[in-house]
């Protein structure tokens, strides 16, 4: 570890009480859906753990994910996370720049070989040899491969790193891919969201530090503790969905009554995230609570799934021409078939009247 002190030592130095650690451990236990009895063990192992060396790489991204973490409205959480980890490299947050910054990265990698965690936000461009995003003279691909080589695990923070996100949206001009598409020999934990929930980032890092292992993941590489349920499963507007009461526009009677937003395009039923339970801004609200449907930002390719305002049960846009062509062909075939039948009928009746005449 770059820092020989334990988390407990550091917290004590900074005047963080034992009670605060216990409280944090209890929060972590509940957030990660662990039994309440686990919180004491967590507090103990947290205190004894070495600070986790973290190298944070920013690729094709908007810095929203870093903002989500650092501007979270729960400073105790933010403090706690920065007490748990030794953030050895983060372009946005570190004071040094240029060669000194690169040296810090290499040093952290060297000193913590096999033990450091790489956090990535942003997707990796592969097109044209990855020229679309580079820093310190290296393409994102090179930096990622070099940094991930001796890492314990990779955490892809945000939908761009997890699934390609907005840079990867059609027509994907930079050939952007997710971290998981490049790194195949290390555990990759995805914490998608645009941005992801700060508590999900913090909780996952804390779990790694405490237990030294990757939490349970779903088939898309997301920690089940935060991405186990859909927004719809936990949505407080669900009773209105079940009763068939829907807002039809954003300022109608239904919207004012807080009815379900399915008809105005809510993607909650197919979106796995913890927004409806952990919420945002320190648990104040989340998009559906503020009157906007879920846009499904923690799902792969959410940007390419049609309009945010189109109901989930409708077909994706762009099929009008195909159906019209099918209908036109049907009309032509039907008319043709009827015309042939009529001709046969006429020929038949001419034949029979000739026979009758003869």
């Amino acid at each position: 570890m770059s820092d020989r002190q334990t988390v407990g030592d550091i917290l004590a130095q900074r005047g963080v009480s034992r009670r605060a650690i216990l409280k944090y451990a209890a929060w972590l236990a509940s957030a990660m859906a662990l039994p309440p009895s686990a919180s004491k063990a967590i507090a103990q192992s947290l205190a004894a753990a070495r600070r986790q060396s973290v190298v944070w790489l920013s690729f094709q991204e908007c810095t929203g994910c870093t903002e989500s973490l650092t501007r979270s409205f729960s400073p105790s959480l933010e403090e706690m996370i920065f007490n748990l980890i030794s953030l050895d490299y983060h372009e946005t947050l570190m004071a040094v720049s240029g060669h000194a910054a690169e040296e810090a990265r290499l040093k952290a990698m060297e000193e913590n070989k096999g033990k450091y965690v790489v956090v990535v936000d942003g997707s990796v461009p592969l097109k044209d040899d990855g020229v679309y995003s580079a820093n310190a003279g290296k393409t994102n691909l090179q930096t990622l491969q070099e940094t991930a080589k001796d890492a314990l695990a990779i955490i892809s923070v945000g939908t761009c790193a997890a699934y390609g996100g907005i840079p990867g949206a059609r027509p994907n001009p930079t050939g952007a891919v997710s971290v998981g598409e490049i790194i195949k020999d290390k555990p990759v934990i995805n914490i998608p969201g645009c941005p992801p929930i700060a508590e999900a980032i913090a909780g996952t890092v804390a779990y790694l530090v405490t237990f030294g292992k990757v939490p349970d993941l779903d088939h898309l590489g997301r920690p089940k503790a935060f991405f186990g349920d859909t927004i719809h499963d936990r949505c407080y507007r669900r009773p209105f969905y079940d009763k068939g009461l829907f807002a039809k526009s954003f300022d109608d009677e239904g919207a004012r009554n807080g009815w379900c937003l399915y008809e105005v395009g809510c993607k909650g039923p197919v979106t796995y995230n913890a927004c409806a339970t952990l919420k945002w801004n320190g648990g104040v609200s989340f998009p559906i609570q503020s009157g906007h449907g879920c846009i499904g930002c923690s799902e792969p390719h959410f940007w390419d799934k049609g309009s945010f305002y189109q109901p989930l049960s409708t077909a994706m846009p762009g099929m009008g021409a195909g159906i019209a062509a099918g209908a036109a062909a049907g009309v032509a075939l039907g008319a043709g078939a009827a015309w042939l039948a009529r001709r046969r009928q006429v020929a038949y009746s001419q034949q029979t009247s000739k026979k009758e005449g003869a």
């Binding site: 859909t230 719809h232 969905y241 079940d242 009763k243 068939g244 829907f246 399915y262 008809e263 039923p269 197919v270 792969p300 390719h301 390419d304 799934k305 049609g306 189109q310 109901p311 989930l312 049960s313 409708t314 077909a315 994706m316 762009g318 099929m319 195909g322 159906i323 062509a325 099918g326 209908a327 062909a329 049907g330 009309v331 075939l333 039907g334 008319a335 078939a337 009827a338 015309w339 039948a341 009529r342 009928q345």
Partner: protein
């Protein structure tokens, strides 16, 4: 592209294009044939072809007393799943939104749990229908592959819809994708098999009415 995108996109486009093509082909192929081809004079005092047609449609909604005893179950069960299907297909809000997106028209729906209950009844009724078809010697004799395929194409959307709503068996997005794919299969099969009766029953019953009326026969 994941399964749900494929279902909501290419699969549905293809299915609806085939549905439009096949349905219009068959409907126009029949409706553009010459009308009023019965050459013989109508029996004296027989009703007008129009009222005979109407009578043909209405009277056939209910079987004759003589057929009631033997065919009661088939008849009632037929009504149950047809009405059930109509309620589930046309009064479930997500379905109404699908139709609104296609044709721009919509109407109020029913609460989801009512639809769910009707869906369960419909599924049970459909199972009873196929059990009856497979166990009754007469029905078995007159059943063709078309009958069985049409049943499967009708049953699958009901089954997958119920599974999706109750989140049973797989993740919701997989179930809803399978539901849409099963509906796509239904649309593709619709014009070419017996499902087409949804449109054609009106015309065939009307023609029966006209023929009977023309001859002065009692419907």
């Amino acid at each position: 592209m994941d399964l749900l995108d494929f279902a909501r996109g290419p699969a549905l486009y293809f299915a609806l294009a085939v549905f439009a093509l096949g349905t219009l082909w068959r409907l126009l192929g029949i409706l553009l044939l010459p009308w009023g081809l019965i050459r013989s004079p109508a029996r004296e005092g027989s009703p007008s072809p129009f009222s005979s047609a109407l009578k043909g449609i209405v009277v056939k909604l209910w079987p004759h007393k003589e057929f009631m005893a033997g065919g009661f179950f088939t008849f009632i069960n037929g009504y149950i799943f047809h009405l059930g299907l109509a309620i589930v297909v046309f009064l479930f809000v997500p379905h109404i939104l699908f139709i609104k997106n296609l044709f721009g028209i919509s109407w109020p729906g029913l609460p989801s749990n009512v639809i769910y209950a009707v869906g369960v009844i419909t599924a049970v009724s459909l199972i009873a229908a196929i059990a009856n078809r497979m166990t009754s010697p007469v029905l078995r004799l007159i059943s063709r592959v078309d009958d069985y395929i049409s049943w499967v194409m009708t049953f699958l959307p009901v089954l997958t819809g119920l599974l999706a709503v109750s989140h049973l068996g797989a993740r919701y997005e997989t179930l809803i994708a399978l539901h849409i794919l099963s509906v796509a299969a239904f649309f593709v099969w619709f014009p070419f098999g017996k499902l087409m009766h949804a449109f054609l029953f009106v015309f065939s019953r009307a023609m029966t009415g006209v023929r009977f009326g023309h001859r002065g026969a009692q419907l």
